[in-house]
Amino acid sequence: MRELTFAEAICEAIREEMERDPTIFTYGEDIAKQGGIFGTYKCILGKFKGKIIDTPISEEVIYGSAVGAALAGARPIVEFHFADFLFTGMCSIINQIMKIRYMSGGQGKLPIILRGPDGVARAAAAHHSQSIETIFMHVPGIKVVIPSTPYDAKGLMKTALRSDDPVIFFEHKRLYKTKGPVPEEEYLIPFGKADIKREGKDITVIATSRMVLEALDAAAELEKEGISLEVIDLRTLVPWDKETVIESVKKTHKVIIAHETWRRAGWGAEVAATIYEEAFEYLDAPIKRIGAKNVPHPFSPPLEDAVIPHKEDIIEAAKEILSF
């Protein structure tokens, strides 16, 4: 099958949907003239005249305007440049995008997509490295997509672009250049459906985004030692696929949850607590949660590596859990 990079897959989804739906338009900082700083708009560079728009550095309006655009009949794709700058317009997101339909008593619909990069790049430090998906799982009002492969990214982006609800779509910086098979034919991936990226029988690893790749690497290494990991990629956090997770837990009785965002009160805690609630008697050992250390992201590479999680952390956790 044809291979695309993660960035190309996203771009293709956007291009196809923009061709199909004339109400889609997209705006954000630095997208129109260079095709986006990570190349996510390369395939539409110079196309769709008037519908790919560079904006001022005015995040409260970048995000909040999506509400008005959607209610007036358009379908905005808003780039957030870096997840760290979601905070710059957070009120527009959390208090407007995520609440207005509910406050209105269900009037209208809000087909809004917020998309952009999150996660660490390399030595980008505390203002350009954050992963903050947990906040949008905690505060109600938006669907949260956080894919790990080009295939998933395309299929989920297409679903997002046909959804009538607000969606936030996180693209990990270190994934943009990764390649994977993407069929030429159209396909959509529903929200709330996890993907078992690798079947296994000893331990269930639940991950998203970059940590799925780390989990797969860990699984490959542990296989040599006769340890079999099942790697579940949640793909969407709101809604999230409890059934697939619980089913796997009932098979393996052991769980590792891995995310790049901070460990403390990260979404791993929610998934863990839910597993205990729904499959308490099936668990052989406490769930291991892996996440970043609870500090901002330091600049210096060795410090950065000490803060974010890696496959080694998964391997270590697997060994610990087996010796519980």
Partner: protein, 324 residues
């Protein structure tokens, strides 16, 4: 549009009576939450809306009853919403501070000061870039809101893209307890328009015809593609910030002085002088509105509260898999 002066008068009286009644009902604990009265500012929404078509949009504020009524809201549905009844505009989910009717073009009263500005700008983008119609958007906000970042980001944005957005600053001299000159670094907020290369004008916000004329010019310009305008309507908040405000920050004398300039009596005198209004006609108008209001109150009181399970509806169009 042909201007019907009696219509203007009637709208102002309707707003006045609605908010006077709402205050009374709030003090009787029939209306829960908060109420912000528009009493004394009726000329603004009335004069502006007289220029609007049903398919034009507005964004409103926490002090939004007048904006809704001037845009044609049904008093029954409004009152029911203030009561928190299921028959209200937002099925009881919004209340006074978040009342809205998208089908009327009201993209929301808003509990966030300055929160409507990005929304208005977004509606302007959809109109200009996607729908390519001659609709316009009126964005109401207060003097206090003019110090928020959204004001700046919104006006710059609307100017750059020449959006059909009319920014109407209701300068009622107070932002809650704060006296406008003490927190706002210009005497005329319209002076800020030059920072965005757009027309700025200050009008007497207690003179409905002055407001009408200023809005007419701005709205016509916007419809023809001439871009945004900032209108500052100078008025005075005759009531407390919210119903129940102890008002320790200003003197009764000051308030009394401004009652003499309130817009309805002023317009009424003019209409009498010009022979457009008679005592009889006046009684007819007031009686009609009072009846409408009584019906609205009856409707609200007789309506049911929403059942508890309604709390878990209206967040998403598609909530499959969502975890309430």
């Amino acid at each position: 549009m042909d201007l019907d002066l009696l219509n203007l008068y009637e709208t102002m009286v309707k707003i006045r009576l609605f908010d006077t009644k709402a205050e009374e009902l709030f003090l009787q604990s029939k209306i829960p939450g908060f109420i912000h009265s528009y009493v004394g500012e009726e000329a603004i929404a009335t004069g502006v809306s007289a220029n609007l078509r049903p398919d034009d949009y507005i964004t409103s504020t926490h002090r939004g009853h007048g904006h809704m009524i001037a845009k044609g809201a049904d008093l029954k549905l409004m009152m029911a919403e203030l009561y928190g009844k299921r028959t209200g505009y937002c099925k009881g989910k919004g209340g006074s501070m978040h009342i809205m009717d998208f089908s009327l073009g009201v993209l929301g009263a808003n509990g966030v000061v300055g929160g409507g500005i990005p929304i208005a700008v977004g509606a302007g983008m959809a109109i200009k870039l996607i729908k390519k119609t001659d609709q316009v958007v009126v964005c109401y906000f207060g003097d206090g809101a003019s110090n928020r970042g959204t004001f700046h980001e919104g006006l710059n944005w609307a100017s750059i893209y020449k959006l059909p957005v009319i920014f109407v600053c209701e300068n009622n001299m107070y932002a809650s307890t704060a006296y406008m000159p003490e927190t706002t670094s210009v005497l005329d907020i319209s002076a800020r328009a030059s920072g965005y290369s757009i027309p700025g004008i200050t009008v007497d916000g207690n003179d409905v015809l002055a407001v009408y004329e200023a809005a007419k010019e701005a709205i016509e310009r916007a419809r023809k593609g001439g871009g945004p305008t900032l209108i500052e309507a100078k008025t005075y908040r005759l009531k407390g910030h919210f119903v129940g405000d102890p008002e320790l920050y200003r003197s009764k004398e000051e308030v009394q002085k401004f009652w003499e300039k309130e817009p309805i009596g002023r317009f009424e005198r003019k209409l009498f002088e010009e022979g457009i209004l008679s005592e009889e006609k006046k009684r007819e108008i007031w009686t009609k509105i009072e009846k409408e209001l009584e019906e609205a109150i009856r409707f609200a009181e007789e309506s049911d509260f929403p059942p508890p399970e309604d709390a878990l509806t209206d967040l998403f169009v598609d909530d499959r898999g969502y975890d309430y």
